[in-house]
Symmetry: C2
Subunit: 156 residues, 2 copies
Amino acid sequence: MNNPVINQTIKSWFGYIKQANKLLDQISDEDLLKPIAPNKNTGYYLLGHLAAVNDLLLPLLGLAEPLFPEIKSHFIRTPDKAERAFTVADLKEKWSAVNTELEKQFNSLTADEWMQKHTAISDEDFAKEPHRNRLNVLLSRTNHLSYHLGQLVLLK
Amino acid sequence: MNNPVINQTIKSWFGYIKQANKLLDQISDEDLLKPIAPNKNTGYYLLGHLAAVNDLLLPLLGLAEPLFPEIKSHFIRTPDKAERAFTVADLKEKWSAVNTELEKQFNSLTADEWMQKHTAISDEDFAKEPHRNRLNVLLSRTNHLSYHLGQLVLLK
């Protein structure tokens, strides 16, 4: 990896993962079960959502199969509900395992590979829109993480 | 500007500015005066904060003086309070004017200039930490914007 701009983007991603971990350490498991605002998502749901989105980065970036395919149906495009399929401790473990795997995978990609297309775009569309590469997914997911960190912090 | 990664980063910034504008259009001025959650910041404060942070990008990136230096003391490191120094309409105008200026300035920077240091770091520190360049500030501010968008959306 010898492209300083790509390095910065990856470094930024891991900086926000670290910030998320610090924040999760500051919120009790009991408080994580509360909604971030009246009638809004709970911290539990946001944690599951972030873990599921990160896990799906593995296939989206063409790196690996998801580690925990069973969480997707609960936390992606499914609204938060009173029923809890997982414990907070279990979700935290999955969140950590996924991030460890992403770190390993990200460190093995070359600069050229970051500029290649992700798996959700056709060759034809990628020829027309070459910015829709792996790096763009990472930029987008970093901001998605920040977006939900701004919500999780309300439980602190 | 011929660096595709830098282009993507700038494109991403303007994408979130656009998302912010769309969101602001969906929240009434009356609702913007409400807190995002009980005892938390109001939408008014977050709008002023984002406008002030964007305005301060002009000097931080060494591009220009801030357009509205008078807003800084109200919205940066000053807690939200009941007193309202500006109207929502006024803050929205400032927000738009600042973003127009940033767009003009960003489009005039070369790839090399994006990799140069920002004004809040010394030459000595920059030699040791070359990633602390203009582009890194932009990455960080894009995530800062996303963080607060995740809060503003609670008023929708």
